[in-house]
């Protein structure tokens, strides 16, 4: 990766954002909602990738962060009648706090220990949503569409039930996460993260407190995930324990690996691809998650760097 490619990078990533925005005018209604969903999950994956692809830390607990955002926004709308913006803020702030506490506890772990610990904390969070099911309605979950007031900006009212509203809010959240992660990754901090991924001990000997940077990566990654979760609640209304389950920790890993771990575009690509793959598979069989397993095994054997990773290796070395 060189820094001389700044213009190319900027143009490419902005083009993607613009293309996504324009797509809403040409997509049929089925794909319209799908792409909105893909963008929200895409933001989740982008956040996850900051930790895995760039800092080299594999977490199996990101469902905890997504769910904190989801419940943070969902519960405040459902029980306190919060408006969308306040609910979103609560979701993000709550995730930030959870991530910071988690990060402080686990910062000295790495590799397998970190993986297992993240998995367990996420499972504990999942169980907590079930334990307090009088409030959270556990597995069944609850729906906030009736409580959620439309967004009021400059006198105009934007109800969340409107499909364009869903699309554009999803797009906005994704765009911000996307651009932010490109900026971070190409900044001095991003360089340090990559160095940590490549060789943590050496990076310490270059004078970097690697624990501090790992903590930072974790908190940023988690907060983006939390923002995605809060957005999901506001746009798609359903808040339930499933989103805190281990499945939603494995999904961002899957999406990122398919699309290309350690690339910015990869996570979005992977999310989109897998979304449709699972969609098609679920039309064919009840055990459609088999597809997930098969894809993971195939990936790891033949395409470990994912799609964008392969493209970067062969044709476009300047891709961040």
């Amino acid at each position: 990766m060189t820094h001389n490619a700044t213009t190319k990078v900027l143009v490419l990533h902005l083009a993607i954002i613009v293309a996504l925005f324009l797509a809403q005018f040409v997509l049929g209604p089925y794909h319209h909602t799908n792409v909105a969903r893909i963008m929200v999950f895409g933001a989740f994956a982008v956040g996850y990738n900051v930790l895995l692809g760039y800092t080299g830390l594999m977490s199996l607990g990101h469902a905890m962060f997504f769910a904190t955002g989801l419940y943070g926004a969902g519960l405040t709308v459902y029980y306190f009648g919060f408006g969308a913006i306040e609910a979103f803020a609560v979701g993000v702030a709550a995730t930030f706090v959870v991530a910071a506490i988690f990060g402080l506890i686990v910062v000295r772990t790495a590799g397998v220990s970190f993986l297992i610990v993240s998995l367990m904390f996420a499972q504990a969070a999942f169980l907590t949503t079930l334990y307090f099911n009088r409030i959270t309605r556990g597995d069944e979950g609850f729906v906030i569409s009736s409580q959620l007031r439309p967004l009021e900006i400059a006198g105009a009212s934007f109800p969340f039930s409107d499909p364009s509203m869903k699309y554009n809010v999803a797009w906005l959240v994704f765009a911000v996460s996307f651009i932010a992660s490109v900026a971070l990754v190409r900044s001095p901090i991003g360089r340090i993260w990559i160095a940590i991924r490549e060789n943590e001990a050496r990076t310490r000997m270059l004078g970097y407190n690697t624990y501090k940077y790992k903590f930072l990566a974790l908190v940023i990654s988690a907060t983006i995930a939390g923002a995605a979760g809060a957005t999901y609640a506001l746009l798609f209304s359903y808040v339930g324990s499933t989103f805190a389950s281990i499945q939603y920790s494995i999904f961002p890993l899957l999406w990122t690996l398919v699309g290309g771990v350690g690339t910015i575009i990869g996570p979005l690509l992977g999310t989109g691809l897998m979304f449709y793959l699972i969609d098609i598979a679920s039309g064919l069989t009840e055990s459609h998650l088999f597809v997930v397993g098969a894809v993971l095994v195939v990936l790891i054997l033949w395409l470990p760097k994912g799609i964008m990773g392969g493209i970067r290796d062969r044709w476009l070395p300047w891709l961040p």
Binding site: V112, S113, L115, V117, Q123, E286, A294, L296, V297, L301
Partner: protein, 293 residues
């Protein structure tokens, strides 16, 4: 029931949990110790043992004891076979790379789980115990079979302990764990040991599944809980440290069993996680693991 007897009941339950957990976690720890990889599909091997037990018992019909003995033979053998196939087809190809193995075994988890879903269905099905007898304590009756489960797990653990420390195979395994290159130089068939250890680890989980299934029903999702509990045990005991694993298994198993009985299973799991958090905050390598400089 008064508190005393209630506690005693909880202790019995905890003990059974602990023994089964020790067996399961031992499999995971053994694999990490020798191959340095984590098998995320470990819980699925447990589940397979349980499901295969249901199948063999249903084959034999009226003789649950025969079915059960059949299960103890077939279950681990089939699971061992799957493990060896996994080793040949996947693990060797990725050269036992830790991160790749995690991803590959997550994939394996889904493949096994969904395959069982297709063939066995989503329902939980009970399996009759091979022997039914009741031990009558002054305050309550307790299932004799549960004590047999504990006993058999204990025997198996003891047997593997002896095998590991006394037999030639055990020697090969320990040598490979300590220093792979040296072991290879001394003629230890390292590749085959890897396959064997992976299979043995899987079989331990399968046996645990077979033993446990009369106590709880068999369903395709039952592998997650033993996986997570095993992880807790292995983290606290120190990755790859077999003694630590056993101690931690008893600690966690007893705690989980007692709290599950006296308060709630969900709370027990939440507390176990907090316990791990505390341990890790103080000692990142686990209670018995290596310390970072």
């Amino acid at each position: 029931m008064d508190f005393g007897p209630y506690l005693f009941l909880a202790l019995l339950e905890g003990m059974v949990t602990a023994f089964v957990l020790a067996l399961t976690a031992l499999g995971l720890s053994l694999v990490f110790g020798v191959l340095r990889i984590v098998n995320i599909a470990h819980g699925e091997f447990f589940m397979l043992g349980a499901v295969l037990a249901w199948w063999s018992v249903s084959l034999v019909g009226d003789l649950p004891l025969v079915g059960f003995i059949l299960a103890l033979l077939i279950g681990p053998l089939i699971v061992g076979g799957i493990a060896i196939a996994t080793d040949w087809l996947i693990l060797r190809r990725i050269n036992y790379n830790p991160e790749s193995t995690i991803v590959a075994t997550i994939g394996l988890l889904y493949i096994i789980q969904q395959a069982v879903l297709t063939l066995y269905g989503p329902d939980a099905r009970p399996v009759p115990a091979p022997i039914y007898f009741r031990i009558d304590f002054p305050w309550f009756g307790y299932s004799g079979y549960k004590l047999i489960v504990a006993g058999m797990s204990g025997l198996l653990i003891l047997a593997s302990w002896i095998a590991l420390s006394r037999s030639k195979l055990g020697l090969y395994m320990r040598a490979t764990q300590l220093n792979e290159e040296m072991a290879q130089a001394f003629g230890v068939p390292v590749r085959r040991i890897y396959a064997l250890v992976f299979a043995v680890g899987a079989m331990f989980a399968a046996v645990a599944g077979v033993l446990v299934v009369p106590i709880r029903q068999a369903d395709y999702l039952m592998g997650l809980e033993p996986l997570l509990l095993s992880f807790i045990v292995v983290i606290i005991g120190g990755l790859g440290n077999l003694k630590g694993t056993l101690v931690a298994a008893f600690l966690i198993g007893l705690t989980d069993g007692i709290i599950s009985v006296m308060i709630s299973p969900t709370l027990a799991k939440i507390l176990a996680t907090l316990l791990v958090a505390l341990v890790l905050a103080v000692r990142p390598g686990g209670l018995f693991g290596e310390q970072e400089a």
